[in-house]
């Protein structure tokens, strides 16, 4: 007999899961990561209902952008202005002006790396397996089903009471998910 990972409930529609997320939060399930909602597409506003804050991805993007710009400045200066100075068309060996397209593109490139890898980093991906996949129902979460899962590790978790709370919030098909 394997251990219980959490209790999962299904909801009928984006509207129902949106309302349920708010109700559960009001019932004390705060923004701690021990519960989560699963929707086949982003349901706007539900993250506020659950108390999830703003994503941290922008900071990673900013770091990427600064790195990219600095890289552009440094490589053009080192290569054309310092290591192998070259007169082309009577222009200065190096200035902030002429290689600007290079700074610009590298800023965008590294910012995009920041956004892309930042998304993986903040989401903890890649992670091929996760306990929620143990639920046989869960395959429909990427199709048309809406789920809320409350982990047994949540301080408020109590099998009987959590079940009731999920049912009161409009959940059905309430089932245990094993570790």
């Amino acid at each position: 007999m394997s251990e219980v990972y959490g209790i999962m409930a299904e909801f009928k529609s984006p509207h129902d899961i949106y309302e349920a997320a708010g109700q559960l939060r009001a019932a004390g399930y705060d923004c701690s990561k021990k519960w989560d909602a699963y929707t086949p597409f982003p349901v706007h506003g539900i993250e506020k209902q659950m108390g999830i804050g703003r994503s941290h991805v922008p900071w990673i993007v900013l770091a990427g952008g600064i790195t990219g710009f600095t890289t552009g400045v440094l490589i053009t200066w080192y290569m054309n202005g310092f290591d192998y100075p070259l007169v082309v068309g009577g222009k200065p060996y190096w200035s902030m002006i002429y290689p600007f397209p290079v700074f610009y593109e590298l800023t965008i490139l590294f910012s995009a790396f920041g956004a892309f890898f930042g998304q993986f980093l903040t989401n903890g991906l890649p992670r091929p397996h996760h306990e929620v996949f143990n639920s046989e129902q869960f395959e429909r979460a990427s199709d048309n089903a809406f789920f809320i899962l409350i982990e047994s590790a949540h301080p408020l978790f109590d099998e009987q009471r959590t079940r009731e709370q999920l049912a009161r919030a409009g959940g059905f098909n309430i089932h245990l998910v094993n570790k």
Binding site: P40, G45, S55, P99, P101, F116, G118, N123, S142, D143
Partner: protein, 493 residues
């Protein structure tokens, strides 16, 4: 805790309470026939899951055979030298650069749809953005082949990048050609990241539906363990929005830098400041031409009429009309400035373009790019899919001729009549270009077969039922138009 009705009232613009409109104008539905979420999943996943239809195999074999010409052309070039192309004095940029600019321009519509229309909250983009982004990537791959092989000794092409080499020299960052290396490689990389990241939730859907083991592994690895969690979506949407924000200045810069390759030169007809905006408008114009060329047959073959609706085609036709008119304006303005600027070489170049030895190419360009899209003023034309498809072929063709006219006429007849010449492509040029068409189609057909062609999650998201404030049986007139006035957007901004 918010109540749904309060929320939708709060999102309603205050002005509506004052002016009290008699009725609300509902937006056109983006998915017809009130399709359910499951229907959308089935429809899009089945394209990948069902056995390949016969027509797919026919197209695939034909495309793959055509792409052999690319191999022949390139092998011929590498084993002999760049001299096998039709480049002769004074024309050292010919079909290769024409094809480069043409292919890269085509790519721009994909980024426009995925990035700029995303920032402008044009929800109709969802039905076409995935295939348009795929088109971008494959078009940039085709584009890259030409300058890469034009360097002559392809095995030294890595000298373009700032990597230490034995001669201890470095790339010359004064040159727009070097900027192009950065612009195009950044463009390709960011387009791939954007495309792949947008696909992750849908790859998760394919993984969850997979029955065969290889499919479970293939899509499982690609989906990276995506779980559709709200926490995932929160970070994902932020990253997606930022990538859209980054791709917007990127796409505008790429064709700007491409146009610098010309505008920074002193050749008459190239040395103009109108080039960056003119090239970008032309790129979007040609790119939408290619999007429709690809999407219209797929829509028919896979019966996607509920997802790619007449409204989508209408919107694209209008963008083509707008950008086509901008391109037409640029042609006229170039002529005007050539006269007004008073430079005799510039003046001659433009008269020569229209009436000189390449006049035929100029008039093909004008009729395809300026005249044919003007038909889209008429609703009847926009609603006639076959006609739209034919006009798109004209647009694709016209934009190729635009680049030919710009590049070849200026070089073939520059300052000194004693150095003039007439450029024509060699058989190797023709093989290589023809081959890229096959290469592009092959990649696109493989994409259609193995990856979700339409963004499943995003299409579901634009249906009215996806709105958390949606009520199937509305109790007020306002609620009858749930897509209007950004209802349900409250959480994001």
């Amino acid at each position: 805790m918010a109540h749904a009705n309060d929320d939708s009232l709060r999102d309603r613009p205050a002005i509506l309470a004052k002016v009290q409109p008699l009725t609300t104008l509902p937006r056109k539905p983006l998915v017809l026939n009130n399709r359910e979420f499951h229907w959308i999943t089935e429809k899009i996943c089945r394209i990948v899951e069902d056995p390949a239809p016969t027509w797919w195999w026919v197209c695939f074999l034909v495309s793959a055979s055509i792409s052999i010409f690319l191999g022949i052309g390139l092998l011929w070039l590498v084993s002999t030298g760049v001299g096998v192309w039709g480049l002769r004095p004074p024309t050292f940029w010919g079909w290769d650069i024409v094809n480069f600019v043409w292919w890269i321009g085509i790519g721009h519509a994909g980024t426009l749809i995925s990035a700029i229309l995303c920032l402008l909250r044009q929800k109709w983009r969802t039905a076409i953005n995935r295939s348009a982004e795929a088109m971008t990537i494959f078009a940039v791959m085709c584009a890259g082949i030409f300058p890469l092989f034009h360097v002559g000794r392809i095995w030294l092409a890595w000298w373009l990048f700032p990597i230490p080499i034995s001669e201890a020299t470095w790339p010359n960052f004064h040159s727009p050609l070097e900027w192009d290396v950065f612009a195009v490689s950044t463009y390709f990389t960011v387009s791939v990241l954007f495309w792949y990241m947008g696909m992750i939730p849908d790859l998760g859907t394919l993984r969850d539906r997979a029955v065969k083991t290889w499919r479970k592994y293939f899509y499982g690895i690609l989906a990276m363990g995506w779980r559709n969690s709200v926490r995932h979506w929160n970070n994902y949407e932020m990253a997606y929005l930022i990538l859209a924000g980054l791709s917007t200045p990127l796409v505008l810069s790429v064709h700007t830098v491409v146009s610098f390759d010309f505008a920074a030169g002193i050749i008459p007809g190239w040395h103009t400041t109108i080039f960056p905006p003119y090239f970008v408008a032309g790129a979007i114009f040609s790119g939408f031409g290619m999007v429709l060329t690809l999407v219209l047959p797929l829509r028919t073959m896979f019966k996607l009429h509920d997802l790619i609706t007449q409204h989508h085609i209408d919107c694209m036709c209008k963008i083509i009309l707008a950008t086509g008119s901008m391109v037409g304006y640029a042609y006229a303005m170039e002529f005007y400035i050539a006269w007004y600027g008073g430079n005799i070489y510039e003046g001659f170049t433009f008269i020569n373009r229209a009436f000189g030895q390449y006049g035929w190419a100029y008039w093909i360009m004008i009729s395809c790019n300026v005249i044919s899209p003007q038909l889209f003023w008429f609703r009847k034309v926009r609603e006639n899919t076959a006609l739209v498809f034919i006009i798109m072929l004209f647009v694709n063709c016209g934009m190729w001729f635009e680049r030919f006219v710009i590049i070849v006429t200026s070089l073939a007849n520059d300052f000194l009549p004693s150095s003039w010449g007439y450029y024509s492509p060699s058989i190797v040029d023709i093989f290589t270009f023809f081959g890229t068409m096959g290469f592009f189609s092959t990649l696109f057909l493989l994409f259609v077969r193995f990856l979700p062609m339409l963004p499943i999650a995003e299409v579901k998201h634009v249906t009215p039922a996806a709105d958390p404030h949606y009520h199937p049986e509305p109790d007020t007139a306002y609620a009858a138009a749930p897509a209007a006035v950004g209802a349900g957007k409250g959480g994001r901004r």
